[in-house]
Subunit: 337 residues, 2 copies
DNA sequence: TGGATAAATGATAGCGCTATCATTTGCGGG
DNA sequence: CCCGCAAATGATAGCGCTATCATTTATCCA
């Protein structure tokens, strides 16, 4: 239908190069380059002439060529398990907010919690020669770790604090988060503890901390409901059917916690008064805004995902910064437990 | 602390080039290039030798150089208002799912609903010579449109269906969505309608449709509560304070709808029985999972963000595909209205 | 007014690959 | 046993920029 609006024919109007601008302005190519990158060192007369030519031709610098010549890509590779999870989306937002004003682009890749895919994505990212890599978690495989090490660029692991990161890490102690929740449940007199979450390393660390706290409090071994990639509703159903007798649940993220609370309501196991002591205590992780809006309001381990992203960007850009930053977490107790 | 784990010293072990691999394997550079890109046309003997050298050196192809030489970057530029909004995160997820298996990388940029920033980000994206641009919405400024047109690459606008897209568009009719909700409210006997949302074009189209339906039903002009960048809770508070007498609200997204319902609950204007006819009917847009878990369950205009992303990726890669795809929407009535 | 210094501009080479064509090698049939 | 063709490999050039040095032009004071 709209022929006249299709992208312009590449033969009719080839994308102009720096050379074309130079010819039009009657200067050498390098001068055009300078006008684009360091306008301050060009006399205003020629600068105006060049800027005019740039405008007339609609010149957009070719950063691919520029990157090759200068060995600077002004890009950062970002690897997340999935972006369709507001918890990581906040982190990507946070790091973008730091990187974009500095002229860095974000190359985004998703591993889908899949080890092979993670390695493939890391290789794909590295082939674009980013100036740094920021990822959620530490590389899962030895090959991935080795690739990153060889790349010779800053690598920031987030949402986790490995003893020995490849290069740098910013996040919190997942094990400790689990322990804090377990201890809280024990103090509140809860007896039959359950953990719902994925099987990735961060979730597993939380699980271990949770178990440790239960053990120290003399409670029976908590149970673990493993779910992969499931929705909040799926998590809720899974807990209710596989561990119906529980009285306290630590959910690996707030979406699961809300799903569980919703399932409890449907099963009529939620007190009509949200302020009452709940039959089943539920604590999530992440502190989604939704958790504050839900009824009962959701207790949670608060993590500032955006702050993690911002800090990660700063570590990525400045190798002089401390290489291990613990941003901590906070147990926020609300109505749900 | 962990000196030995810092990225390897660039002087000690320079990142190996294709040339280095060629020398090690005793072949010409172009043969290495072929082993990487078209292993089928290399004899298995030399291929094995080259692959061995690649492994030994830990060679990762430099796609920046490759892109410059081949004029193919295998990348797609993606521009969203913000990624920290699950509605768009789903779209990014969807398009990534199509693009990544094909070897394309996603370069992500955020406009923050800011016109100037949108143009800056478009320029930044185009300077990396992506093979296509996928964006939420149509370019806001004439300059942005012109840049995109000149780039001579596929451009897919999403979440919106302009009459005359720069190149292609996939989404739904926002105006119609507003009309459907307005009509629904009118039929349900609601009289004082309110719209909450941002001031961007898509929200405005919904608003216009909403007004049109109200007018046709003989209702008083709906009121519009403009909020920029606010949280769900902020949206809820804004509606309650500025239009306390409303009996039906169309929220521009489910997060706002949930925020409003939560505020209504706090103001004691929510019937304890979620199945009862609500004092204030609320309809959102997007169909977040949270909306199904909330009590009352949230009525909404269902949009499949991931499907939009997938379709956009397909249009971006295949210029032969139809250039205007209406994925539609559905009014899902639940407890909230 | 000359000469030293700074400011402005340019010439040259090369970043690490791939497109394109040229050459060599392998191989079956006349 | 050599020709012709396909398969395999290589030589050359260049993608569009920027780093680096060289050169020219303006500037200022002795």
């Amino acid at each position: 239908m709209n022929m006249e609006n299709r992208p312009s024919d590449p033969l009719k109007s080839p994308v102009p190069t720096l050379m074309a601008v130079a010819r039009m302005a009657g200067v050498s190519p390098i001068t055009v380059s300078r006008v684009v990158r360091r306008p301050d060192i060009v006399s205003s007369a020629t600068r105006l002439r060049v800027e005019d030519a740039i405008r007339k031709l609609g010149y957009v610098p070719n950063m691919v060529a520029g990157s090759l010549a200068s060995a600077r890509t002004k890009s950062v590779g970002v690897l997340v398990p999935t972006i369709a999870n507001s918890i990581f989306a906040d982190t990507v937002q946070g790091l973008s907010d730091v990187l974009e004003p500095l002229g860095f682009s974000v190359i985004l890749a998703q591993s889908g919690y899949d080890d092979r895919r993670e390695d493939r994505m890391l290789a794909a990212l590295l082939s674009r020669r980013p100036e740094a890599i920021i990822m959620v978690g530490a590389p899962v495989t030895a090959e991935g770790t080795e690739m990153l090490r060889r790349a010779g660029i800053p690598v920031v692991e987030t949402w986790e604090l490995p003893e020995v990161p490849v290069d740098a890490a910013v996040g919190f102690d997942n094990h400790d988060a689990g322990r804090v929740v377990g201890r809280h449940f024990a103090k509140a007199g809860r007896r039959r503890l359950v953990f719902v979450g994925g099987g990735d390393r961060r979730a597993t660390q939380r699980w271990h901390g949770f178990v440790e706290a239960a053990r120290q409090a003399g409670l029976a071994e908590p149970r673990r409901v493993l779910i992969e990639w499931q929705s909040g509703a799926g998590a809720g159903a899974a807990v209710l059917t596989s561990t119906p007798d529980t009285d306290a649940v630590f959910a690996a993220n707030d979406a699961y916690a809300i799903g569980l609370l919703s399932a409890l309501r449907r099963a009529n196991r939620l007190d009509p008064d949200p302020a009452a002591v709940p039959q089943v205590a539920v604590v999530g992780l992440g502190d989604l805004e939704m958790g504050r809006l839900f009824s009962p309001t959701v207790s949670t381990i608060r993590i500032d995902g955006a702050a993690i992203g911002r800090a990660a960007a700063e570590l990525a850009l400045d190798p002089a910064k401390p290489r291990r930053v613990d941003l901590g977490f906070a147990l926020i107790l609300r109505e749900s437990g």
